[in-house]
């Protein structure tokens, strides 16, 4: 039962909240979110900078050049490669269910071949290889369960990681070479837990799985020609051999060959 005083409070709050609408905040929210995503990705990639490299800490600075910075890995018509691969998985007609399988990027098939058999894998969002700062990147967010109730993981493919971290939003020293930092000693020093690290050979990529100080788990393969395949899985829904098999799959790597 509501007392008269509570009713007064309720009515007063309604009146107090009457105000002209705020300016639209959506554009800035999107651009800030893109900048944060890019920063997180770059920080993760450059985590080894201060450790590896003969003890010489190499400073790097992240900048946002205005609110209209390039749109991360979001595919756009204007910048897309002239290939059918660069397409976005669509959700029509139901925006809150998984993407329509016919629109899934084709590389998802390679990923799914490694997954334990179940009938509730969904693609929450994803796109094929699209131009991004001189490289090409593809990404897919996969859910287990229609609402992701059994977990989610992300697979990202990048043709040239070096280009992606030296684009217009990220200033790194011109001589900086990501390959010099992606070594097992450096990665081991930078991660709280390392599950495996295998150095690259002529035929195999560097394969790494570890958890950093923020608690983020990274499983990735990095090739001498700077191809990069990463799987983020913070729900521990996939086991390490499965994740390793996905990121080191030769078919996925072949898709990234220019």
């Amino acid at each position: 039962m509501t007392s008269p005083f509570e009713s007064s409070v309720r009515d007063s709050l309604q009146r107090l909240a009457e105000a002209p609408p705020a300016r639209s905040l959506v554009d800035r929210a999107l651009s800030d979110a893109r900048r944060i995503r890019r920063r997180r990705r770059t920080l993760a990639a450059l985590a080894a900078i201060a450790i590896v490299g003969g003890g010489t800490a190499t400073p790097f600075v992240l900048t946002a050049r205005g609110g209209n910075a390039p749109v991360g890995t979001t595919p756009t018509t204007a910048t897309a490669r002239p290939t059918t691969e660069c397409r976005t998985a669509t959700h029509e007609p139901s925006p809150f269910a998984g993407a329509i399988p016919d629109t899934w990027p084709s590389f998802i098939g390679i990923v799914m071949a490694h997954l334990p058999p179940r009938d509730d894998y969904y693609v929450s969002s994803g796109y094929g290889l699209c131009e991004d700062m001189g490289a090409s990147a593809g990404r897919v967010v996969m859910s287990i369960g229609e609402q992701g109730e059994h977990g989610q993981f992300v697979v990202e493919l990048i043709t040239d990681f070096q280009k992606l971290i030296q684009g217009p939003n990220v200033i790194t020293p011109s001589a900086f070479n990501i390959s010099a930092y992606f070594t097992c000693p450096g990665l081991q020093a930078e991660h709280v837990e390392v599950y495996f690290c295998e150095e690259a050979t002529e035929t195999q990529p560097l394969a790494f799985a570890g958890r950093d100080h923020r608690g983020d788990m990274w499983v990735f393969a990095y090739y001498p020609d700077r191809r990069y395949i990463v799987l983020e899985n913070n729900d521990t829904i996939l086991d390490l051999p499965t994740m390793r098999a996905i990121v080191t799959d030769p078919e996925l790597a072949a898709l990234l060959q220019r």
Binding site: F5, L16, A17, A29, R37, A99, Q147
Partner: protein, 171 residues
Amino acid sequence: MDGQNEREFREYVAARQDRLFRVALLLTGHREDAEDLLQTALTKLALHWTTAARATSVDAYVRKILYHQQVGHWRRRAPHREYATAAPPDPGVVDDPATDTALRVTLSRALGQLTHRQRAVLVLRYYEDLPESEVARILGCAVGTVRSQTARTLARLRTLCPDLLSTMERT
């Protein structure tokens, strides 16, 4: 965020921004702070849109971000800020401008003397009209805590704003 998700996010914000802004206004007590708070919350929502859009209720998801942001980050800010404005605040359309303005000023001052958590409980219960169980879920506490917090907040408001009832009756 891909094109599809961005479109969905834009549609959501276009439909809900005004309502969320009013909540932020009540939580912070000032337009600029409300815009800052909502901007931060929407950025977080954009970051997690893929997950949020799959949640049972996007509103519940964004509400949680908004209130946690307010109770967490904003409590570390100075409690009182002064603002220079070019024009007096828009009183809105009212039957009796003088009484309504007095009511706004009185309640606004009273809200400013509550803790951020008390303010959050008040807005959730009496502006958003949510049940205690939902308030508890959003604030991450027990239903009993919400109940006692609400009772204490109302008692404090009665002290700070004893003529609220009579003022409301006059408007």
